[in-house]
């Protein structure tokens, strides 16, 4: 179970108090009624699902109730940081992205099986 730092409560609290809210920094177009099908598709349907660093929304739903953003490594589940909603996306280009192999197979270590 994750331990999540809430930037409003200023402490780490159990995952039980939180709800995940999908990718962060996807702004609803202010002219949404007028955007094209492709723009709507990008806004509403398409996500990157990266292996490694992801910026995502959480809500401290059973705590302070606030939505906030967090940067998490999807492989190790480590949080790099969390920050308040509305704050700019932090530049974490220096953070190493995950390289951990989830399953060590013969193929991964030795190439194709004979």
């Amino acid at each position: 179970m994750l331990l999540i730092y809430c930037p409003y409560c200023e402490e780490e609290r159990s995952e039980l108090e939180f709800r995940h809210g999908g990718d962060a920094h996807i702004a609803r177009p202010t002219n949404i009624a007028d955007i094209t099908d492709e723009e709507f598709q990008d806004y509403f349907f398409l996500r990157d699902n990266p292996k490694g660093l992801i910026f995502e929304r959480w809500r401290h739903i059973h705590g302070c109730g606030r939505f906030f953003n967090a940067a998490r490594d999807t492989v190790s589940d480590k949080f790099v940081m969390s920050y308040k909603a509305g704050e700019p996306k932090p530049n974490l280009s220096g953070e190493p992205t995950a390289t951990e192999k989830t399953v060590e197979t013969y193929e991964a270590t030795e190439g194709t099986a004979k």
Binding site: S14, H62, C64, G65
Partner: protein
């Protein structure tokens, strides 16, 4: 004119717990869900006669009236004397939202040396003395439900929950109290 309708508390008549942690329903109280921005805190504090807390997980109490910090713009006000809190709020012109939740919530008091242990049977908060001292308050979970936990004394906790969840909360706390007392 019809007879005046009588109140019926959701946990009327219940008792439970152990020697180390007594679990009892709290008396009726008036409650307010108070929402306001930074600018209004001063005015509202004056009106309610206590300093609305600005720090997470803290509270302010003056003679039976408590203001619990729930979020950066949210407080739960509880008045054990039954004062009309909505009436006070309606006199404040500073921008805020006040909603009466006196009947939405009910409270369970958990008291005694094993009170923290009883609550820890179902609540993931760290209740250590330095981390959750007297006066600390937080919205959190108890088993499968949401609660607001308020430490009103060294060995005294107030568990606020929505009324329909209160039998579940009471049962859980009673079981927790029995186990904590072992």
């Amino acid at each position: 004119m019809a007879d005046q309708a009588l109140r019926k508390a959701p946990l009327a008549g219940r008792h439970g717990g152990s020697a180390g942690a007594r679990v009892t329903p709290a008396a009726a109280a008036t409650r307010l869900s108070l929402r306001a921005g930074e600018d209004a805190i001063g005015t509202l504090s004056l009106a309610f006669g206590l300093e609305l807390p600005r720090r997470p997980k803290t509270s302010a109490s003056v003679s039976g009236r408590h203001a619990l910090w729930l979020g950066p713009d949210e407080w739960l006000l509880i008045d054990e004397n039954g004062t009309d809190l909505m009436g006070i709020a309606s006199g404040v012109s500073a921008l805020h939202s006040a909603t009466d939740v006196s009947h939405r919530n009910t409270a369970i008091l958990v008291s005694g040396p094993d009170a923290a242990g009883a609550i820890a049977s179902a609540c993931p908060l760290d209740l250590g003395n330095t981390i959750f001292p007297v006066g600390a308050a937080a919205r959190t979970v108890l088993g499968k439900i949401e609660i607001v936990l308020f430490r009103s004394g060294e060995e005294d906790y107030r568990v606020e929950c929505w009324r329909s969840f209160s039998p579940y909360a009471f049962g859980l706390l009673a079981e927790g109290a029995e186990d904590a007392g072992l």
